[in-house]
Each structure stands twice: as structure tokens, then as C-alpha cells.
Amino acid sequence: MNFKRFGVPAVVAVTAALALSSCAANEGGGSATPEESTSTLSGTIDAAGASSQGSAQEAWVAAFQTANPDVTINYDPSGSGAGREAFIAGGVDFAGSDSYLKDEELAGEFAACAPDTKAIDLPVYISPIAVIFNVEGVDELNLDSATLAKIFKGDITKWNDPAIAALNEGAALPDATITAVHRSDDSGTTKNFADYLNQTAADVWAEEPSDTFPYQTGEGAQGTSGVVDAVTNGVNTIGYADASRAGDLGVAKIKVGDEFVGYSPEAAAAVVAESPLVEGREANDLAIALDRTTTDPSHYPLVLVSYAIVCQEYADAAQGELVKSYVSYLASEEGQSLSAEQAGSAPLSSELGEQVQAALETVK
């Protein structure tokens, strides 16, 4: 009876809400002022790749389509490997990827590119990875990479282990078992986390970094939100996740040089800016060999860098022009501040941003 009285208006309200809110991305917002919509770009860009860029790409696509009403962009967050594969096969116009192109991939042909030209890697998305924890009575936690590696490898099993206690003087560490939560699905976050441990504590973390968590220890959870949920709802837990998702959880500081450093967008961008480019690549290829062994305490070396992989020269020049303008928007200050706001990424340093723009100038 109550349902009858309130149900009908509720159904009408829901239907109306659905009907009224179902505008396309490039209709909404009302920010499409006349001078912006004079854009001459038109066409469709298909892209696929890293899910880490997913929420940033959503924001970028919406903003770019608003500014260029005749452009349609589809980004399928199917994963870095799948994205690179689709790009090599010519299925998509550019790929988003948490790893730069491998040498053997560069040695092959790229179907979307002009014959005998190669693809280049352009960093467009930097995200610090936070080590999150939920331990009763502990608000702050300092860890060095060897201890962190031992915790996730299962060598350290108690919170009051001497190795942790030595780094956290005065903290009331409980005599409780550590539950270390890692990603159960493949993830660039895992790869970058493992790469950090492998570079800085190779004697503990000997496994080659890959998208899959290498050890049969600790606890697995699906996706970033799964890890955050598991750490939040569990007891005496620790995990790693994109920093933007850490929320109210405790975030451990990691040891860089002689100091313990918490994540910040600036520190994350700094380590990327200071790292050298991968050697033996084309001049315009901005693949970054992240130097996670930095001892500069203004750096936060636990970061994820995600690339847009584009052709140096597209087989279809008009399509090349379109991709070029979109990727150049991603790397622009405007695009970077949008993703910082919407996805919690760390904006590219202005120097790196300029390098990306310069590389894009040469894309045809």
C-alpha cells in the first residue's frame, strides 16, 4: 500500500532523472562557448590500453569533446598489454600503456603507422603509489624498502618485528600478524611497486617486476578499490594503491636517502623529471628509465608512469593530425591539471611537458 502511494511518483522521478541526464558528453556542461566550438577538428579516435589512465582519460575525453564537438574519442581501458597489442595490429590509433614499448615490439611493424616508421612513447600520466595501512593504535609508519619488501614477501610477519620497530621509535606497534594485501588481478600498479622494491632492495625482492604479484604470500584483492576495501575493513593490514584512493587510511612514509618521505604530487613528478630517458631509442621517444634508487628526499620514487604510444608518422595523415592534437591536449598544462583534479594524478613537470609537446610537433 505504501508502495502504491509513494512508488508511482518515485518511478516517475527516477525515469525523469534518467531521461534528462542522458546527454552525450559533448552536449553537457554548457562550457562550449562559441569561440571554442569553432574548432575545425573532426573524426573519431579509437584508443585502448592501461586502466590506470582510465578515469583520467574519461575526464580528458569529456573536456576535449566539449571543445571539439565534431570529434569522438573512444578509450577502452582493457589493459596495457592488450592496448599495445591492438595498437601494433592497427586496431587503435594510440595505446595507453603503463610500460613503454619493449625492444622486440619496436623491432616489428606498426600497422597504423606509415611503412618503415616506428612508434614513440610519450608520458602523459604520473601517479604516486601510496603504501596504505590499518593498524590499531598506529597513525604514522616509517618503512624502508628492504622492510617493505620483506613484509610483502612474508619474511616479516609481525607488526612488532624488530626491523619495523627500529624504524618507528616510540610507536606502539602491536604483537599482531601482518596481513599484506596485494592486487589479485594484473596491474601496472603491482609492476611499479615491484620495480621499486626490486631496484632498491634487490637482495630481498629478486623477482623480475611484472603485472602479476610474484609471491604466494599475503592476501590478494581485486582492483584498486578491492585493495582499499580489504585494508580498510581488515585488521592489521597493509597494502599499496594509487595515492588518490588512499582516503582516510594511514599512509606509510618511505625512506629516501636518510629521510622518510610521504607522497606528494610534486615529489612524484620530481622523480620522473630527474630520471634519464631510456637509451638507444629514437630522439622523440620519451620512455623514462625511472631512477627509484634516488637519495634526494624531495623525490618520491614509488610512482607509476603511464604513456600514450603514438606513431611517429601515421599512414593516414589526417588521423595523425587528430591524434596529435588530442595527445598534445593530454600533456598540456590544462589537461594535466584536469587529470590531477579528476583522477588524483601528479601533473607532469613543465620541462617534461615541453619535451612531450616538442616530440608531438614531429608527429605526422
Partner: protein, 313 residues
């Protein structure tokens, strides 16, 4: 009297008859074609996986059988745990509805059980991860402290409660409606004569159920359980969301490392799989297909064999 000549009496074929019989034939053939198409797809796509080398597999597996064996174990183990919890409970609920509850209460209860079947599995997954797992974690801790000597409850306990036991509880809740509904229907069909005869001989109500209802319903209970098992074996989202998976074989139900299921493993790894990784996942799907087929065939066999003794005919 001459025997009727069957050949001379032929019903006139009307268009309606022809259309209807063709339509049913097409429907019947279509289901076979669909099944065959799925089987052919699975086998064809799986072939490369059987010859894959150690580098193609995640973890330490060196060939396909090493890779898939813990998954097969996890699939059966999780489903079996769920079944152990769900079937006795379902029989109890069904008996209460069919033989004990007052009529009005029985109807209401029946509706509520059916409603449970309408909850999407992803909702059960969310419930498992945000409500059930944190709620049972302290209980698990106590269990390992007191009964840690028993291999099932061996420590160290998971700090989040996202273990295979939690998954089995959620799976049990999910298969409860289907098993209960079928059992209830079967119990209601017990011949009233059998029940009255038992009561007339001085049996109590419990004895009457034991003598008349349960033997009559046994094949029904088994086929209901097998349907539930089928759902538990194939359930994907709940396991993927709630379980903390590892590629291990372990009977301990309270630890952080749990054997995962085939369906959940496919759901977790497919999004980022490429090249031969896809073939390997499809080959594990083929294994699941084979297991469910085998389970259903065994159930059929049991039901067929028991039918004669049940008094159902």
C-alpha cells in the same frame, strides 16, 4: 472383428500443426547447436594452451595441468563447502514450509526465499566484502586460537576475513533459494496416503517425515543439490570480489592464501590477458565446462538409479 487399419486413419495435417511441430524441432535443434558451438569454440581456442611452455604461465606452473590443477581443486572445494552448509539448511527450511509452518506463514516464507534468488550475484559480492568478511574475522581469529590444531582451521588467520570459508558462506546463501524451492515442491508431492499410513501406525511427525517424506524426496533432494552445485561451481563475481586468491592447494579455510576457482580466475585475469594467455584462460574454461558436465551426468545417474526405490512410481 477386423483389426483397425492404422495406415488408413491419418489425421489431416493442418498448417498450424506443421508450423508448431517445426517450431519445436527448431528450438530443440538450436539448443544442441548452441552447446556444440560453445564446445567447439572452447576446444579450438584451448589447443595452444596444452602445448604452452613454462614462460607463458603465471606463477610457477610449468605446463597447463600444473596451472589448472589448483584451480580445479579450488572450484570443487569452494562449491563442496557451500553445498555442505546449504543442503541441510535447505531441507530444514523446505520441511518447515511443507510440513510444520502454519499455511499463511509458509506462503510468506516461500516468497522471501524466492526473493533471495532474485538478488544479483554482484550484490552478494559487495555484501560479502563489506559486511560479512569484517564481521566474521574476529570469529575466525578465535577459531584458529582454539581449534588451530584441526587442519581445516590452521592459522595464521587472515586479517581481513576474505577466506574461502567466507566465500562458501556467501555461495551457500546464493544456492539456498534454488535448493529450498525444489525440495519444497518435492516434499509437497509426498503421497498423502503414505503420510497418513505412517501416522496411523503411531509414528510421530518426525518419524513420519523420516519414513515417508525423506525417502520419497531423496532423488529430488539430490537433483536439487546438483543444481545448486552447478550454480556454485560457475559462480564468478562473488569469488572474484571476496576471495583472496593464490595458486595453491590447501584445505585450510581461514588463511589469507586460498585456492581460487576457475571462473574467478578467468574474471580476474582476462582483462589484461593477451596472446597465449587468452588461450590458457579459455582452456581453464573448458575444464570448468567438463566438470559441470560431469557433475550433471553423475546427478542424472544417481537420480535414475534411485528412482525405483523411492516409491515415486
Amino acid at each position: 472383428m477386423t483389426p483397425p487399419e492404422a495406415s488408413t486413419i491419418t489425421a489431416k495435417q493442418r498448417p498450424g500443426d506443421r508450423i508448431f511441430s517445426t517450431a519445436t524441432l527448431v528450438a530443440g535443434v538450436l539448443i544442441l547447436v548452441t552447446l556444440a558451438a560453445v564446445a567447439i569454440f572452447l576446444v579450438a581456442q584451448s589447443l595452444p594452451a596444452f602445448t604452452a611452455v613454462a614462460d607463458d604461465f603465471k606463477g610457477d606452473a610449468e605446463n597447463f595441468w600444473q596451472y589448472v590443477w589448483p584451480l580445479v581443486f579450488g572450484t570443487i572445494w569452494a562449491a563442496a563447502l557451500a553445498l555442505i552448509m546449504a543442503v541441510p539448511l535447505s531441507i530444514g527450511i523446505a520441511l518447515f514450509i511443507s510440513h510444520y509452518a502454519p499455511r499463511r506463514l509458509a506462503q510468506g516464507l516461500g516468497y522471501i526465499i524466492d526473493l533471495l534468488a532474485a538478488v544479483p550475484s554482484v550484490v552478494f559480492g559487495l555484501w560479502g566484502i563489506t559486511v560479512l568478511a569484517p564481521a566474521v574475522q574476529p570469529f575466525y581469529t578465535t577459531l584458529t586460537e582454539w581449534f588451530g590444531w584441526f587442519p581445516l582451521f590452521a592459522g595464521p588467520v587472515s586479517g581481513t576475513g576474505r577466506t574461502i570459508l567466507t566465500v562458501a558462506v556467501v555461495l551457500a546463501v546464493m544456492i539456498l533459494p534454488i535448493v529450498t524451492a525444489l525440495c519444497r515442491e518435492i516434499f509437497l508431492q509426498t503421497p498423502v496416503l503414505h503420510e497418513e499410513a505412517a501416522l496411523a501406525l503411531g509414528a510421530t511427525r518426525w518419524e513420519m517425515i523420516k519414513l515417508a517424506v525423506l525417502p520419497f524426496g531423496r532423488p529430488g533432494i539430490i537433483s536439487a543439490s546438483m543444481l545448486g552445485l552447478g550454480r556454485a561451481l560457475g559462480e564468478t563475481m562473488v569469488v572474484a570480489m571476496v576471495l583472496s586468491p593464490s595458486a595453491i592447494i590447501s584445505f585450510a579455510v581461514l588463511q589469507s592464501q586460498n585456492p581460487t576457482t576457475i571462473a574467478a580466475n578467468i574474471a580476474l585475469n582476462f582483462p589484461e590477458a593477451h596472446d597465449i594467455g587468452v588461450n590458457i584462460l579459455i582452456a581453464t574454461g573448458l575444464m570448468l565446462f567438463t566438470i559441470t558436465l560431469a557433475v550433471n551426468m553423475v546427478a542424472r545417474y544417481i537420480v535414475e538409479r534411485r528412482k525405483e526405490f523411492s516409491g515415486a512410481n
